[in-house]
């Protein structure tokens, strides 16, 4: 079962391995720049945020942002490229595997890339800065990173499945992904929001990812609201991505 998915995942990992160094350099440059600019550059201007030094406050979010962005990008662009340009999806489909193998293989590839790139940023931040966290909190943090990458990988797969023009994938990133990420309190506490908006912000899946990840890594707390929201979102996104891909293929 899912042997085809494993084969497709293996193919994607083989391709990633070939350009791993350049990929990691490219993917770590942006969050590290943000960390240095905001965490180090503004250190003298921004006091602690809710009792946490600012550089420490933004680090978990930057790692999570790298992971989920990489998961989205890999899934969306890979699915689009394999479907529209290289037409390898059509080649996969004349083999004795199922459409579930294809879509699950692609989702897991996106998730894996997100996880690898998130860890790379974490390692770099760890090496270059005084950012430290209790190792006991790491498993809880991984839960949020893993499910967050899964959600974004599924969303990327949906986009790569239904969007035919590549510029529209870029627009989705600019108009939906980036605002959702930045609204979820990577650089500021959620308490900054007006009380009327805050309940809406709290139920966003991205808030569950970023705020949940921060609370788990820095405080060792698995906030139930965020844990449940993220788990349900990941399950729904997975079912939806598989269903959309299946329908598109049927067409």
């Amino acid at each position: 079962m899912f042997r085809g998915a494993f084969t497709i995942w293996g193919r994607d990992m083989r391709v990633l391995r070939r350009s791993l160094f350049s990929e990691l350099v490219a993917v770590t440059a942006y969050p590290i720049t943000l960390y240095l600019a905001f965490g180090v550059g503004l250190k003298g201007y921004i006091a602690d945020v809710e009792g946490v030094p600012y550089a420490l406050f933004i680090a978990p979010g930057l790692i999570s942002m790298t992971a989920v962005s990489a998961a989205f990008e890999e899934s969306a662009w890979s699915m689009w490229f394999h479907r529209k340009v290289q037409r390898t999806i059509e080649e996969y489909r004349v083999n004795p595997i199922t459409v579930y193998d294809i879509v699950i293989g692609k989702i897991v590839s996106g998730f894996s890339q997100g996880a690898i790139k998130g860890v790379a940023v974490a390692v770099v931040i760890f090496l270059l800065t005084p950012f430290r966290f209790p190792m006991a909190h790491f498993l809880a943090y991984l839960y949020f990173i893993a499910l967050g990458s899964m959600v974004f990988s599924c969303f990327g797969t949906m986009c790569g499945t239904v969007i035919d023009k590549p510029e529209n994938i870029g627009r989705i990133q600019g108009v939906v992904i980036v605002p959702l990420i930045f609204m979820s309190g990577i650089f500021f506490p959620l308490s900054s929001y007006p009380a009327t908006i805050l309940p809406v912000i709290r139920v966003l899946p991205t808030t569950a990812i970023f705020e949940g990840a921060r609370l788990s890594l820095l405080g060792g707390v698995m906030e139930p609201v965020y844990t449940v929201t993220l788990t349900l979102t990941a399950a729904a996104a997975f079912v939806l991505a598989v269903w959309i891909f299946n329908r598109k293929i049927e067409e």
Binding site: R3, G4, T7, G10, R11, R14, V15, R18, Q86, R87, T88, E90, E91, Y92, R93, V94, N95, P96, I97, T98, E250
Partner: protein, 308 residues
Amino acid sequence: MNNAISIQNITKVYDGIRAVDDLSLEVRSGTIFGLLGPNGAGKTTLIKILTTLMRPTSGNAFVEGKSVLTDGASVRGMIGVVPQVNNLDRYLTARENLALHARMHRMRAREYGPRIDELLELTGLTGRQHDFPDTFSGGMQRRLVVARALIHAPRVLFLDEPTTGLDPQSRRAVWAYIQSLRSTMTIFLTTHYMDEADTLCDRIVIMDHGRPLVDGTAAQLKEAFAHSHVYELEFRANADRYEEVLRTFPFIRSLERRGNSFRLELRDEESLKPLMDGIGSKDLKGICLEEPSLEDVFIHLTGKKIRE
């Protein structure tokens, strides 16, 4: 001899257009079957249905006895597909492309390793096995796609316009390879090239508007149109005047001019006498009866109008 493919009343409608219209046919095991037709005739749609890439609107088809509707995975396990457009993975080497396909067919490394060596040797790509397909010529890419379709030793091979866009040398290399597969498997081929069908196919069906028009061997189809009365006339001079005269004759079905020569199709044998009476023999250099080619049969059946 058993049928490798059995198509039963297949219809495919999209956007109100019947791409395939109640088509039924059978293909015997171990033969090379050629499906010919102009663009939009329904050839690729039919191949997509037979390879389970597309579901028919109605009807069913069986490949080696397995239904494309209800047993798609079994069908896909028995077929090899060479699509119209190369869909090689440009981020994998030639060898990795073949290995990926083998793994999709649940082959183990110890099985597919020697098989890949054999196919690379047969297709003349051994020296380039660690290169990426982007660096290959069109002919080499095509040979790699054919090799990929054969990794798992399919019982039925579908080739959708396998030589489109290739130079004559590459076309002949692909032909030679297809001929070497004759009798080891059933081959279902679509093509625009009449010479390709003439050279390779044991049986040919010409289809248009989703329906089969004729069915037989290349020789049978040409023979059936041998009474089509196609003549070639050549004049020494005054070709323009003779063209005007020829165009007035109601018994000439079609007329093509090449310099001082005219290729024309008469309505029947009795039209020859009024033709000769009409043009006289003063400027006539020669007249000969043409043997119809497969292309004549094709054009006669599907018309001259260019399809989009």
